[in-house]
Every structure is written in C-alpha cells, then in structure tokens.
Symmetry: C2
Subunit: 334 residues, 2 copies
C-alpha cells in the first residue's frame, strides 16, 4: 500500500490509491489518526489518505485501512491474441479506449516474455506462441453485454493483424491463459544461466498515446546493449498495457550490472522524455531517488522533504527512502 | 479544484481528485513545481497532486492542470422515476450497485425539491410530479449494451415501487428531464418569500449502506425544526445518490439563522455517526472547521496544520481556512 501498488486489476479498478477510502495510522510522534470516514467521496480537509499511500513507509505506520469493494466480475471471459509486432497489440488497446470499452484487464507481453513462460514450465501450457501476445479479461453485469465486448475484441484484434485470437468462458481454459500471465515475473528467473545472474527491470509508465514510442525505443536500447554484450542477456517486456505501464526486464551475468543498469536508466529517461513516470507502481525506494529528481524537479522533491520533516522531524521512519533526508548538494532550500 | 469539487458526473467519472493527473503550482515560497508527469498511474514520490486538490487554496496556487479525458458518452438515454418515498429511490441505487451496473449519473430529489423546480419555472416543464424522483443517465459503447441497462432500470424501478418511469433517447425530452435536475440549486432560491431570507444547506456523504438512515434522520430533524418554527421554512433534499452525498436545504427567514444552522449541524453530526463525512464536495471553508475536528480528530487536524506550516510558514495563502493556523485551545501539539 505504501507505494500505491497495483497489478493486472488496476486498469479496471484503479491502483491502491483509488481503492483506499481511509487509513488509521500511527504518526512518528505516536499520535494515532484516522484520515477519513467511510463514504466514497469527501472533501474534509487535506487528503492525508493519499499522502500516506505512496509515501513508502516514510510518513506513518498504517494499522488499519478501509477499502472500497467492487462486485465480483460476472460472466468472466479470458482471452489472448497474438501479433507479429508489439505495436499491433498496443493499437488494439488504443482503439478499444477510443470506443469507450473498459475490459476487466489488458496485458501485453512480447515474444521473449512468452518464450520464458514456455521454458519455465510454470504455466499450465508450454506451447504458447512465442510472439507478442495480448492477454485480456472481459466481464460485465450480463452475458449479453459481455458477448458484445467479446465480439468487439475479436473484431479489433483481427483488424490490427492478430494471427490468432482465443476467447474462452471455460474455467479450465481461463486458468491456462491467465496462468501464463500470472507466472511471468517468476518465469523470468528461469532464464538465469547461473544462480549469480542478475534480474533487473524497469517500471515506467507513459500516456497511452506515447506507448508505442516507449516500446520501440526500449526495444532499440535493449537490442543495442545486447549486441554490445554478445547477446548474453535475456531481455523481455510485459506491460499493464491499459495503464501505459511496461516492465522491461534484463537477465544478465553479474559482471554486466553496470551496463544493464545503464540500459534500465536509459529506458527510464526515455519514459521521462515521453511525459512518463520513472515508476508506475513499484515506488522510488533507494534506486530511483535521482530519477525522481529528474521527474518532479528539485523543488518538487524539496516540497516532499518539507512534508517529511513536518511529520517526522527526527527521521525515524524509513529514513532516506524516496529522497535523502538532508537533501543532495545543490538542492535549493525553499 | 481546490476542494475536489464534483457534481452529477462524479458517480461515474470520479470527483476532481480522480480526474487530475498532474498540477503545476506556485508554492508560498515562490517555487514552481509540477506534481507529476502525464501517465495514468505513477508511484513517483509523495502524492502532492492530491495534497493540493482539496487544500482549498491554503497550500499552493494552481497555474496549470493535466486532466484525464474520457470518451463522450454514446447512445445517451436520460430517465426519471417517481416513488412514494425517498427510501424506495435509494433502494434502486443499492440494488443497481449490487448487480454491478454503473450508469452515467444517478440523482435523487425529494417531493419538496420537485415542487420548487415546478414553482421556479426554471425547468423546461412545470408539471413534474412532486414526489421523490430518481434522475438517471445511461450510456455505453453500443446501443445493445445501453438497451440492456434501460431494461434493468425499468425493472428495478418498478420492483421498488415506482409509480412512473420515463426513459428517453430524444434530445428534446432528455433536455427537459435533465434540465429539471440542473436547475435545482437555483430553483431553491425561488422559494425565498423575502429577499433577506436565507438559503442554507448541508453537504454530507455517507456509505451507501447508511444512506437510508441519513435520509430518514434528516427528514425527522427538519420536520421537528419546521414544526417548531410554524412551518415557515422550506426544506428539500437532493442527492448525488450514487456517491451517498445529499444536500439538505433550508430556506428560512433571516431571524431563524441560528435554529436553521443548528439543524444543518445536527444533520452533519448524524452523518458522522453514520461513518460519513461533513463535506462530500464543497469543502470545509470557515463554517465546518469545528466539524472537521469532529471528523478527523484533533490529531488529524494537527497533522494537516503541520503540513500547512511546512509549506507555508508565514501563512500567506488563505489563512485560517480549513483550520485555524494557530490551533484551537486544547489541541495537542504532535
């Protein structure tokens, strides 16, 4: 919760930010506060709920949370569609949004990502086509409405060049398709050739209109770096595509840490140049502190630091996470 | 924006909070910050966007905002349904939510509110039934989907005792129905018997599950007070019912200010006892500062005050709005 995490459900239901109504927190002073009461909306004072969500444990300890509930999805269908290029999958998402449809979930993986799903043996099927693959869920209050969205997706995928479209309502088949999506993070670890190999990944998000550019640029950056390192890296992309959030992963020998991290940071800078964020869901932590300065500026970080000092003057909660307590050299005091 | 305002679209599209992606602000120090870049989701540092939205001008001056866009509603239908009691209208909303339908808008007005629409002459029709009336909009990506929701609403309204249901796709008829909803705030002013008469209203919101209790309690409080004041008050209720947000209005002679304001505060306390908020959308301002303390506690307000002091140490922006800068007597320092 403390980094407003999200996942495959965020596209439809929102991230942690959109689903927490109120928090009970212990402040560094020991004071216990409840940020809000229980209604869906409120304008009662500063939004301390959202201030704490995403503060990565630096402002308060959360002891209780009131969450917004949603009805369980009905008439669930799960589907996949394969494309010759990642871009074609992105175009389906763009078209879908313009039509005003909102599916339950929309995820896009590239060929290498599908390869490692097959190799890892973690998914219920090992014969997925190793091509860019769009995974989606469709649900709605009636079978009628759902069938209409199923037809729309079949049509859009075909119109954007899908070589294969599969949409199912059978539980065992849904488990197979979504099982592939679910195992992707762990499946990447199976690509380690040696236990000491590293697994690094980006967490950028950009406006949907810039997504194609992020993906094209990412593929170029990775291809160049892989070539320079004698193709000893395994690289893959998977995205919470409905949110414009893509994880580009690199599995490489430990000795290539510097070069691989350089590529991840180049991807991050590319996202910034496309009006994106350096972290869509995983937070800043220690590694993205400098990238945060590039994103919100020194004065933006200094405003955050002032809030931190106001609520935690002794710096007892997760010090130096998100930003350095004392401020980097050259950061102007407000 | 500074109080996260909302209206009839908030039920479907969210309030200002859910629709602002990023803000460019001038802080009291003169520093200019941009709170975020442009992607739909981000976990980059503290959520300064939401801190400023709802701060009622006390933390920063907003000079630029990046808003989330939504496709225009398609196949729009507008409807109304009349009921013998306000509660029956509330029950339609509760049933609808449980089914997982999300209409474009859902508003509920009581009989007196409909009376003043007719009397004011501000709506395109003056013959609305002066009964509790549910107003709603239905839209969707296809006529098929919309027709299904139209049927659902017809069925639910009838099932909950509606005496009249009218749903239309014709622009002139939609304008008439929604025109009645749009004029309700101004129509209340038409109930002044004298130019010096006062118009007071509450802005409470409660969880939907407690909405019936809020409305029943509000009607009782107002009936008691009206009786005590020789029925010289005009009282009406209209709610952004999908959000559990109800405005109870009182139009009364100026000399009754104290008594009428007492009723508004009693309604506010009733909302708090039902896990609600003292302000669903209009903000705290000056009048609800004490109610805010009742809602988030003294330590909650003190946390807000600390944030205020950190960003505006000289108190130059909208001082003493939302809470007193120096703190009320007895408020513990954190």
């Amino acid at each position: 919760m403390a980094m407003s995490c999200s996942g495959t459900n965020a596209y439809h239901y929102g991230t942690m930010k959109e689903n927490v109504i109120s928090l009970t927190c212990v402040l560094p002073s020991g004071a216990v506060i409840k940020t809000h009461n229980r209604p869906r909306k409120s304008s009662a004072g500063y939004d301390l709920t959202h201030l704490v969500i995403g503060s990565e444990g630096t402002l308060a300890l959360v002891t209780e949370a009131i969450l917004r509930l949603a009805p369980l999805p009905r008439h669930l269908h799960v589907g996949l569609a394969t494309f010759a290029t990642f871009q074609e999958g992105v175009q389906v998402v763009v078209s879908l949004q313009k039509l005003g449809h909102r599916l339950e979930a929309l995820e896009l993986a590239d060929g290498p990502q599908m390869h490692c799903v097959n190799v890892s043996g973690l998914a219920p099927r090992r014969t997925f086509k190793e091509m860019p693959t769009l995974f989606f869920k469709i649900a709605g209050p009636s079978m009628h409405i759902v069938q209409e969205q199923v037809s729309t997706m079949q049509h859009l995928c075909k119109a954007h060049g899908a070589s294969h479209v599969e949409i199912t309502h059978r539980q065992d088949e849904m488990d197979i398709i979504w099982g592939a999506r679910k195992c992707m993070g762990t499946a990447l670890l199976a690509m380690k050739k040696d236990p000491t190999d590293l697994f690094l990944h980006s967490d950028c998000a950009v406006p949907i209109s810039n997504l194609s550019r992020l993906v094209a640029g990412t593929q170029r950056l990775i291809a160049e770096a892989s070539a320079a390192n004698q193709a000893s890296w395994f690289c893959a992309n998977v995205g919470h595509i409905g949110d414009g959030n893509v994880h580009s992963s690199i599995v490489c020998p430990e000795k290539h840490y510097g070069a691989a991290m350089g590529v991840i940071l180049d991807i991050t800078r590319l996202a910034l140049s496309l009006e994106g964020t350096v972290t869509g869901e995983h937070g800043v932590g220690l590694k993205l502190r400098e990238a945060l300065v590039e994103e919100v500026g020194r004065e933006g970080v200094e405003a955050m630091r002032r809030v931190k000092r106001a609520l935690d003057p002794n710096g007892i909660l997760n010090p130096d996470k998100v930003f350095m307590l004392e401020g980097e050299g050259g950061i102007p005091k407000l």
